[in-house]
Every structure is written in C-alpha cells, then in structure tokens.
C-alpha cells in the first residue's frame, strides 16, 4: 500500500470535518468508551455550517488538524488491508484449485496398469500425501487471515478515541468545529487485549456458556 492508494480511497479529502457546534466552555473529560460508537470510515465529511462565508474557512482549518487527518488515514488503512487480504485469499483459493486438479490427475494415474510398479506406486502415494499436506497448509493460512478483522477493530477503537480527544480539545478551545458523527457502529470493549492465537479464549467462553446453560436449566 502506498500514499496514492490511501489518497484514492479517501477521495483526496482527509479530515474535512467541521461543524456548527457552539462552544459551551470547558467540558468534562471524554467519557470512557461505550459499546456503541461512530463508524470510522470514511474520513469525516464536511457538515454544512450556517454562515456560507465561513464554511470554506472552517473546512480548511479543520483539515489542518492532525487528529482529523489521522482518523481519515487510519480509515483508509483498514479499507486497503481488507482489500489486500482478499487478494491473498484469492491466491490461496487458486492454489487449492490447482492442488485439486493435481490430485485428480494422480488418482487417474494410479489406476493405470502401466504404472503398477511398486516403486512408482510408492512415489505416487508420496505425491498424494504431499498434496494433502499442502492443502492443509493453505487452509491454515486462510484461517490466519482472521488477524485482519482483529487489527481493523483495534484501529477502529483507536479512531474512536482520537475522535473523542479531537472533539474535546476543539470544544475546549471554542473553535466551533467537531468531527461529524458518523454512522453507528458497535465496538468491542475487549479488542485491545485480543491476540492473534486461535482459540485463546475458547476455554473461558465455553465455561461461561456452560455456566449460563446450567443455571437456566435449574431455573
């Protein structure tokens, strides 16, 4: 991924958020993250401000604010990594299909009377075993791509915090700007501690489910 791709995804407009929120003086510190929060992508878009003369100026000022730019860039990173992960999965799918074709060929070959020689048969069996091993590795590689969803959610959480800090500071300064509330998206509260090892929370989740089901049966 390079800057041109990020710029293309962002439509050339990172950090354009501006609003007409009035300054209310010093506000309490940002609330701790909630389960429901604004969606992160794309970058905040301009909100119409009542005085047209100042609208352009607002946008210019807001886009120069680093936090707004960073939120937009993070949104672009998540979109690009999802797209590129899908390309890797396309390649893995193609490898799977090629392996299937090879296995069909080898199976046909094994039935051929002209290659009933035990040495050749043994080699053919080894090829089949190798095909199966390669196929399993391909599946494992596909399953490991779950890291993309987890990384994306971690970035979404960071973007959510940045937005809160951004709005808080601007409110404090009395600039009248605010990042545009984006479409609703729920965020995981435990994403920061989520690792990339498959099934690392399985025992924990299973025990909570079992406990719940047992309690419900009794009740």
């Amino acid at each position: 991924m390079d800057q041109s791709e990020i710029d293309a995804i962002m439509g050339g407009g990172s950090g354009k958020g501006s609003g007409s929120k009035k300054h209310k003086g010093a506000q309490p510190a940002p609330k701790p993250p909630e389960t429901t929060a604004p969606a992160p992508v794309p970058a905040p878009t301009p909100v119409a401000t009542p005085p047209p003369a100042s609208a352009k100026k607002d946008s210019e000022v807001s886009s120069s604010i680093p936090s707004v730019r960073v939120i937009g860039e993070l949104g672009a990173v998540t979109a690009v990594t999802e797209r590129e992960t899908n390309k890797v999965m396309d390649k893995l799918d193609q490898i799977s299909q090629l392996l299937d074709q090879q296995r069909i060929l080898v199976t046909e070959m094994m039935g051929n009377e002209s290659i009933q020689n035990p040495t050749i048969q043994s080699s053919v069996h080894q090829i089949m075993t190798a095909c199966t091993e390669i196929q399993n590795k391909v599946y494992e590689a596909m399953d490991l791509m779950q890291f993309q969803d987890i990384s994306r959610q971690k970035l979404e959480r960071i973007m959510h915090h940045l937005r809160q800090i951004h709005d808080y500071i601007l409110d404090l300064l009395g600039t009248g700007f605010q990042s545009q509330p984006a479409a609703k998206i729920s965020l995981s509260n435990s994403i920061a501690s989520t690792g990339t090892s498959p099934d690392e929370n399985k025992t924990h989740a299973d025990s909570v489910v079992d406990e719940f089901l047992r309690a419900n049966k009794k009740g």
Binding site: Q146, S186, N189, S190, G195, D199
Partner: protein, 118 residues
Amino acid sequence: MKILVVDDSSTMRRIIINTLSRIGYTNVVEAEHGKAGLEKLAQGGVEMIITDWNMPEMDGLEFVGAVRGSDGSIPILMVTTNAAKEDIVSALQAGVNNYVVKPFTPETLKEKIESLLG
C-alpha cells in the same frame, strides 16, 4: 441445510464460509450487517445463523433480538471478538445458542455447529 453468515468483515465471512464448505455445508447466504441479515432471513429457507457482534447499521445483539422476536428456535451461533464474560452472558440472554471468540480454529467452529445441529 442453508446457513446465513452475518459479518461486516468480508475476510471473516470468507473464512467462515470456507470452513463451512470444508465440513460439508455449501448452501450459504451472507450479509454484512444485521439489517441485511434480516432481509436474507425474510427470503426464507435459512436453518441456522452464524453472526458477528460488532457491525454497522444493526449490530449482532440487536439482530439476534430481532430474530428471536419472530423465531425462537432457529440455532444462532455468535462469532465475535467480544470476550468479556458480561458480553457472553448478554448474548446468551438475547438468545444465541452458543458463542465463539475470534480468532478461532476451524475445529472449534465445526464443534459448535455440530453441537447446535445435533
């Protein structure tokens, strides 16, 4: 057996659908959030749901609530990064039948699906 897979991550939907295919379930429909999931359900024929929690438009918990409002028996498996005990309990109270925390192994997904269908 027609299975509905709801997740906003296209990567995740693909991984789940691949796993389903490997264990013999190839009749799959997909949706990118709860709202789209309800539309797919309305088309009929779905016998099991695998849903994410954190999604735009309509999250997994709202989706499960909406499904349970009209269908108390369809098996629902939630597959999410939300690992906190209170989250798991909320999902179970909303009506999910079982729960898998991402990242998962295909064996775990298989085990949960088979236990729901068995």
